[in-house]
């Protein structure tokens, strides 16, 4: 068999491994979903009534695209823990000492993570429909929004692989995941940056997550641009550019880091 076919075959074998994990431990999926679901309840119902949305729309309608992005960002924890666990247990080294495809060792996790992301979005969209959220600009735009969300998830995946290879321990993986919080807060996920003080507004608007949030709101028809700043006005373009740039930076870094394991 050619080496490309082995790469594909080994990648699928390792993808299957991750899928088996979910079958044995559905709690792992439940956990990645827990946060967005709790956020729907907490922000949509508890704080929701107190938050004023710029265009005057319903807050839950406004919130859902933010929570989709939040889920994409929090997907990084799965990657961090997966890599930390395999490194700590010596599974990564075992794989590296086997005659299998090198690419597949990272590739298996990628495919599984993207499958996980699709399942996640489907569940969240269903949740959104239950609480009264919907898309208003046609199914094509809605699907485009989902594609942009998956593109963001893909770039987050590479950031996760690079970080995971950097930290390599389960304990640190937990700590690093905690840093995600401020990162999601200083964005347009929950409130419009236009309500923040000037300098914070700039940071929040240039947060890559905000671009995807803005693009999703626009494509789903859940609210207009966050402000008239350039980056908010070009949310869809930036929702393509940001993930591509991040992937272009972090994928090579991750591969380099992985190769450096033999240094």
């Amino acid at each position: 068999m050619s080496s490309l076919r082995w790469t594909i075959s080994d990648t699928l074998t390792l993808t299957k491994r991750d899928l088996l994990h979910w079958r044995y431990e559905p709690s792992r999926i439940a956990w990645t979903l827990a946060f967005p679901v709790m956020s729907i309840l907490l922000f949509g119902y508890v704080f929701g009534s107190a938050i004023v949305v710029p265009g005057g729309e319903d807050y839950r309608e406004y919130l859902m695209p933010g929570l989709f992005v939040m889920a994409a960002a929090f997907g990084i924890t799965e990657t961090l823990f997966g890599i930390a666990m395999d490194t700590e247990r010596g599974i990564t080294n075992r794989l590296r000492a086997m005659p299998m495809s090198r690419v597949a060792i990272l590739g298996g996790g990628c495919v599984a993570a993207m499958i996980n992301a699709v399942v996640n979005f489907v569940v969240m969209i269903a949740m959104g429909l239950v609480v009264g959220w919907s898309w208003h600009d046609g199914i094509v735009n809605a699907l485009l929004a989902v594609l942009l969300l998956l593109l963001l998830r893909f770039s987050v995946l590479w950031i996760g692989i690079w970080t995971g290879l950097q930290i390599r321990s389960i304990e640190t993986a937990g700590n690093v995941s905690g840093l995600l919080f401020p990162f999601t807060m200083i964005s347009s996920i929950f409130v419009s940056p236009s309500q923040m003080p000037g300098w914070l507004q700039t940071i929040a608007e240039w947060n890559p997550l905000s671009s995807t949030v803005g693009a999703a709101r626009e494509l789903f028809g859940n609210g207009g641009p966050a402000s008239d700043s350039w980056v908010a006005q070009h949310a869809i373009e930036m929702a393509i550019v940001w993930p591509l740039v991040l992937t272009a930076i972090f994928a090579p870094l991750a591969v380099r880091k992985y190769q450096a394991m033999s240094k």
Partner: protein
């Protein structure tokens, strides 16, 4: 491996991590079908050596060959011929034993059918058939270790690397692992095994290399290493610290070797050549010096004695200097 070439060769292997020198010209040669025990204190460089030989790490200098292939130039071919069981149980604990074996079988490029068949075979061979379909995280330490070994044996490798295969195992599990390893060796596999347990090396190894600070400081058969220490070993247990110091001085005079001092147990031991004559000489000297002795013993040397003798002076805080004399070959 019928051409009589060694299955493992390391020649002048060097590796440093930043400032820290992990391997400082390590030499090994393991004939095909034999077991080499790599002994050495924590941080001696055992895992580093195994990592280089199993293609996980690149050496900074020197040459390493496994199954007749240079590990740097032919890493993929080497990987197809080796098995590795590292210091941790590298198994997927969420999956069952059978799923682990099938997973790694597939990654070894066995067909789905073949990997299923091999998994069943290995579960049987390693006494895991009954637990085969349960999640591995519910396994006992011994069962996990056996599963780990089974995985490294999926393709019946020519050369098997075992890094501390029984660390943290209870005596019964250790003996189980030993018998599994013996079976594999009987089938013609070459084994390189690192361990802190000298009885383990004594049990399994045809030859032992003692490693300290990245180089081999002694090698030979277990018996030759023990013989090197002399006919017998004198142990003294003293009543107080001053006694320990005094006794160490006396033993140093009677023995050819530096006595091994264990202050926490207030014991001193050293090898001697004439059993009873030496013991009498020691006891007379001790009595003359007025040292209070709690216990005394004359016994066969163990590999622990060899180990402490060769690497022990550092434990006392002194700078051991493994001179070339020290590193002489003990057995042919």
């Amino acid at each position: 491996m019928t051409d009589g070439r060694p299955a493992i060769v390391a020649a002048g292997l060097r590796k440093r991590f930043g400032e820290k020198v992990a391997l400082d010209g390590l030499d090994l040669e393991v004939p095909a079908g034999t077991v080499l025990g790599l002994l050495g204190p924590n941080g001696a460089g055992k895992t580093t050596a195994v990592s280089i030989l199993t293609t996980l790490l690149r050496a900074d200098g020197g040459r390493a060959e496994v199954a007749g292939l240079d590990v740097a130039a032919h890493a993929p071919e080497v990987r197809a011929r080796i098995g590795l069981t590292g210091q941790t149980d590298a198994i997927d604990e969420i999956l069952s034993g059978r799923q682990n074996l099938e997973l790694f079988g597939r990654l070894h490029h066995l067909s789905p059918r073949e990997s299923k068949r091999r998994a069943a075979e290995l579960l049987e061979q390693f006494g895991l058939t009954e637990a085969g379909d349960r999640q591995a995280k519910g396994y006992s330490g011994g069962m996990k270790r056996r599963l780990d070994l089974a995985v490294s044996f999926i393709t019946a490798p020519q050369v098997l690397f075992l890094d501390e295969p029984t660390t943290g195992q209870d005596p019964r599990n250790r003996m189980e692992v030993w018998s599994v390893v013996r079976e594999l060796v009987a089938g013609g596999t070459t084994v390189l095994l690192t361990t802190h347990y000298l009885d383990e090396a004594d049990q399994l190894a045809d030859k032992i290399s003692v490693v300290d600070r990245g180089r081999v400081i002694a090698e030979g058969t277990p018996d030759a290493l023990k013989r090197r220490l002399g006919a017998s070993q004198v142990d003294l247990v003293l009543r107080d610290d001053d006694g320990v110091t005094a006794a160490a001085g006396i033993l140093a005079r009677v023995s050819d070797a530096e006595p091994v001092v264990d202050r926490s147990r207030r014991s001193v031991s050293a090898p001697v050549h004439d059993r009873v004559a030496s013991l009498t000489e020691v006891l007379q000297a001790v009595q003359a010096a007025g040292v209070a002795v709690e216990d005394v013993a004359l016994r066969q040397p163990t590999l622990d004695d060899v180990f402490l003798q060769l690497t022990g002076s550092r434990a006392d805080g002194g700078e051991a200097d493994p001179t070339p004399d020290d590193a002489e070959e003990v057995a042919a």
